[in-house]
């Protein structure tokens, strides 16, 4: 549930329920379309001229090799996800053995399971609390489209209706190998990102200062 700062909250549980109901109805109404892949809209003009510097490479390497996962396992896919981290499949080979109970310490959200509308505001809240840069993997048929519960009255038809999703891992549930493959795809995707902004495009406060040497040029 998102907190409205202009509102005085009354700690009456029924009132809170009604507020939550309103938020869910709003979310339902405003999510007719899916949110496209973040890479498509976060830096659209970046794709035209990707020039990775060595600094970019180092930062991307650091980011992709230490993905910390927030906990969001509403249903059965969570079991495969646990198996992925357990010794047999050993997710820590890919630098992601850490699960975080606090979204503020995480940068990856693996959505392992069916999402109900009642839970939807909380998932969005978890996503909003995660620190940038952050990524989302939709795991399983339910995560992608609602799966077999898609036509249910209380199921969100895909996480991309409420949060941007980077990588989709199909299956019901996906095998741990599939999830690992999905994670590797995400790591490749992170590896392509430009982490250091182009300095010439940023507003430079130094340009605003009076510079005696460039006096005539400025005028």
């Amino acid at each position: 549930m998102e907190i409205d700062e202009n509102k005085e909250y009354i700690y009456d549980s029924y009132q809170l329920d009604c507020d939550e109901g309103k938020i869910i109805e709003q979310m339902k109404a405003s999510t007719k379309k899916s949110i496209p892949d973040p890479a498509d809209w976060i830096d659209a003009d970046l794709k035209r001229n990707i020039v990775l510097t060595s600094l970019d490479w180092v930062i991307d390497w650091a980011r992709r090799s230490s993905l910390w996962t927030a906990i969001c396992y509403p249903a059965c896919c969570g079991m495969e996800w646990m198996a992925t981290l357990a010794p047999r499949f050993d997710g820590s080979r890919f630098g992601m053995e850490i699960m975080r109970a606090s979204p503020r310490q995480a940068d990856l959200l693996i959505t392992a399971g069916t999402l109900t509308w009642k839970m939807a505001p909380n998932v969005r809240r978890i996503y909003n609390q995660m620190a940038e840069p952050k990524w989302v993997i939709a795991m399983g048929a339910c995560g992608i489209s609602g799966g077999i519960f898609r036509s249910g009255y209380n199921v969100v038809p895909g996480y991309n209706k409420i949060i941007p999703v980077d990588v989709y891992v199909p299956g019901c549930p996906p095998r741990p190998e599939a999830l690992l493959y999905g994670i590797q795809q995400l790591q490749k995707k992170i590896g392509r990102a430009k982490a250091v902004p182009d300095l010439s495009e940023l507003p430079n406060p130094l340009n605003e200062l009076p510079n005696p040497l460039k006096k005539d040029k400025k005028k």
Partner: protein, 147 residues
């Protein structure tokens, strides 16, 4: 293993205690009048030789003409179980008495039945939706929902 107590045995005890509470005794279940439900359950929970102290589940069935609410209790002492049923004949605001005061476990189960079937449990301390949000239209497990 838990064995179901034969309805005959229980009916004979119940009808001695509550002469007109039992409406019908099936092979493995007892149908009681909804008004006498709390008294009957209280008796089943506390009476010597019965002691049904654990509620397994509460559920409800929509038969179009009436709703049937089903309760299953187990006696952890004698390792036996019994199924109680009660009916409400109306589709418009059906009501049965709540058992939340007798079994704590009935609390959320009754809320679930209320949420999905729209049966109100009278005397429940917190009768509101549990799975769906406030403002959801109707009760989805009713047979005539969304037609």
């Amino acid at each position: 293993m838990t064995t179901a107590l034969s309805a005959k045995e229980i009916v004979s005890k119940l009808s001695a205690e509550f002469p007109d509470a039992v409406k019908e005794a099936g092979a493995d279940s007892v149908l009681v009048k909804s008004a006498s439900l709390p008294a009957v359950t209280e008796y089943l929970k506390t009476a010597d030789g019965l002691k049904f102290d654990y509620i397994n589940y509460i559920t409800a069935i929509d038969y179009y003409d009436y709703f049937e609410v089903v309760y299953m209790m187990t006696s952890t002492e004698y390792n036996r179980s019994v199924t109680l049923k009660t009916r409400c004949e109306t589709r418009n605001r059906p009501t049965v008495p709540s058992l939340a005061g007798i079994y704590q476990g009935a609390d959320w189960q009754e809320r679930e039945v209320y949420d999905l079937m729209g049966i109100t449990f009278k005397g429940h301390p917190n009768m509101k939706r549990v799975f769906l949000w406030e403002g959801f239209d109707g009760h989805p497990l009713r047979k005539d929902w969304n037609k």
